[in-house]
């Protein structure tokens, strides 16, 4: 039944699929209220079960090519979920555009900036998708201006501007007010000095061999990162991992509670 078609047969099949889609879609709208929640729970459970079974089910086959009966379906299932998620991008675009179009239509304060936003979005879409289809040089030049000229620079500059705010915070907010703050500051200072050449130069006189090498600032910084930072981060990570697993189980088995999960359907 699911065989690739070409030419007129393809369009016939597409038309048939469209009709079936419409019927299925309307059939779903007719699902009675009391069946809705079990249906959602069933779909959630089945999707999770697919991956869980694929992982836990014993594998067989030659070494380096071991699989079970579900392994072959992992990629197609993943491809289709990826496609579906991309369609969901429209939700965000719709929300963004509707807010700014409303502003423009009502000439609210800052409407000109909203216009800039919408125009830039359209230009980028034309340029970036257009370069894949149109060979004319203007499309590629437009893409160069929009992407390489503007977006790359704006992206990098937005990320870099925080450096200035850190300088301001270092002077105004980084105060030794408690034991904890003092420990934090000393640790930060050692790491900062140990990471850069000018800081390392302070202890360059100490030989880099034998026990005295441990007094060099870069070795101190490395010790903090490996022996104090690592177990502390690992402990946080363990908490996150176990918490994440528990949450995943609750979601998979539809045990999660809260406004979203308990709302009337």
């Amino acid at each position: 039944m699911f065989q690739a078609q070409h030419g007129a047969a393809l369009y016939t099949h597409l038309a048939g699929a469209a009709v079936v889609s419409v019927i299925l879609f309307f059939a779903l709208t007719l699902v009675p209220t009391k069946l809705r929640r079990p249906l959602i729970m069933g779909v959630t459970f089945a999707a999770g079960l697919f991956y869980a079974l694929e992982f836990f089910w014993p594998v067989s086959g030659p070494e380096g090519d071991q699989k079970n009966f579900l392994t072959a379906y992992i990629k197609p299932f993943s491809d289709i979920t990826t496609v579906l998620q991309s369609f969901a991008l429209g939700l965000g675009v719709y929300s963004l555009v509707s807010i700014h179009m409303r502003k423009i239509a009502r000439s609210q304060s800052g409407w000109a900036y909203s216009l800039v936003l919408v125009v830039c979005m359209v230009v980028m879409v034309i340029a970036h998708i257009g370069k894949e289809y149109i060979k004319a040089p203007w499309v590629h030049q437009l893409n160069e201006f929009a992407y390489s000229g503007l977006m790359k620079s704006l992206d990098a500059t937005m990320f870099s501007i925080i450096a200035f705010y850190i300088v301001s915070a270092a002077y105004r907010a980084f105060r030794i007010r408690s034991t904890e703050a003092t420990i934090l500051l000393v640790s930060a200072a050692i790491i900062m000095l140990g990471q850069v050449a000018i800081g390392q130069a302070i202890t360059n006189g100490i030989p880099n061999e034998g026990l005295t090498a441990n007094l060099r600032v870069e070795n101190l910084a490395n010790w903090i990162l490996k022996k104090v930072n690592s177990p502390a981060i690992m402990a946080i990570d363990f908490g996150l991992g176990v918490g994440g697993l528990a949450t995943a189980l609750r979601l998979w088995l539809s045990l999660e509670r809260g406004s979203y999960f308990e709302e009337e359907l």
Partner: protein, 227 residues
């Protein structure tokens, strides 16, 4: 348009947008707001075009229209369920499709947890039984087996005390647990200090990147024709 002219315009646009964003450092102004909205628009446009160019076209449109896999059309009604969020009567249908993704993500957690955390648990546990090979590793300056063992014990103590600090399932009473928890808090401060130091380096690096663009790519190469 000549290639050199395009390059020059790209650099000039880069300079204008960099200085436009930095103008906020002086005070809130219209130039910054202009470039800020431009950035949001361009980034949104880029996401849309990336979704089409890199996902929908190769993984859906081409398969359906070129390779003839007509059943890919069923992705449309499935995707339409997302948009039922705007329908009062049928918004439950959006939960059906969200449920599919929640379930799939939850199902994948078992493997990711096992592969990510089991080696970490193993390392954490083996530290206690004198894990000494690092004495010969680079960076173990003059470490004797004794000091390496001491470091391993310290590793375990910090791990246990930070976990104790985050253990909220019971009230931390008595003398031992609050003391361990307090030590855990102090070691967390050392880790946060290290994180602060690294954050500074990251942000400075990005600023240097922009400064290098203004000074080298624009002034030295474009204006002064230096190499």
């Amino acid at each position: 348009m000549k290639e050199e002219t395009v390059k020059l315009i790209v650099i000039l646009l880069g300079v204008a947008s960099t200085l436009g964003i930095y103008s906020i450092l002086y005070k809130e102004n219209k130039v910054f707001r202009f470039f800020e909205h431009m950035y949001l628009g361009l980034a949104a446009g880029y996401s849309i075009s990336a979704a089409w160019n890199d996902i929908l076209r190769p993984q859906w449109w081409t398969l359906m229209m070129i390779e003839g896999r007509w059943w890919m059309l069923f992705a449309i009604p499935a995707a339409m369920m997302f948009y039922m969020i705007y329908s009062k009567q049928n918004s439950w249908m959006s939960r059906l499709i969200f449920g599919l993704f929640l379930g799939a993500t939850a199902g994948q957690t078992f493997q990711s947890f096992a592969a990510d955390y089991f080696p970490k648990f193993r390392t954490a546990a083996s530290k206690a039984v004198m894990d000494l090979p690092e004495v010969s590793q680079p960076g173990a300056y003059g470490l004797t087996p004794f000091s390496a063992a001491l470091n391993n014990v310290l590793f375990m103590v910090i791990l246990a005390s930070v976990m104790t600090y985050f253990f909220f399932s019971f009230e931390q009473k008595g003398k031992v647990i609050p003391t361990v928890s307090k030590f855990g808090r102090y070691t967390l401060m050392v880790a946060f200090g290290a994180l602060f130091g690294s954050t500074i380096m990251a942000r400075m690096s990005l600023l240097i990147g922009r400064m290098y663009f203004l000074i080298h790519d624009f002034v030295q190469v474009q204006l002064l024709h230096m190499q």
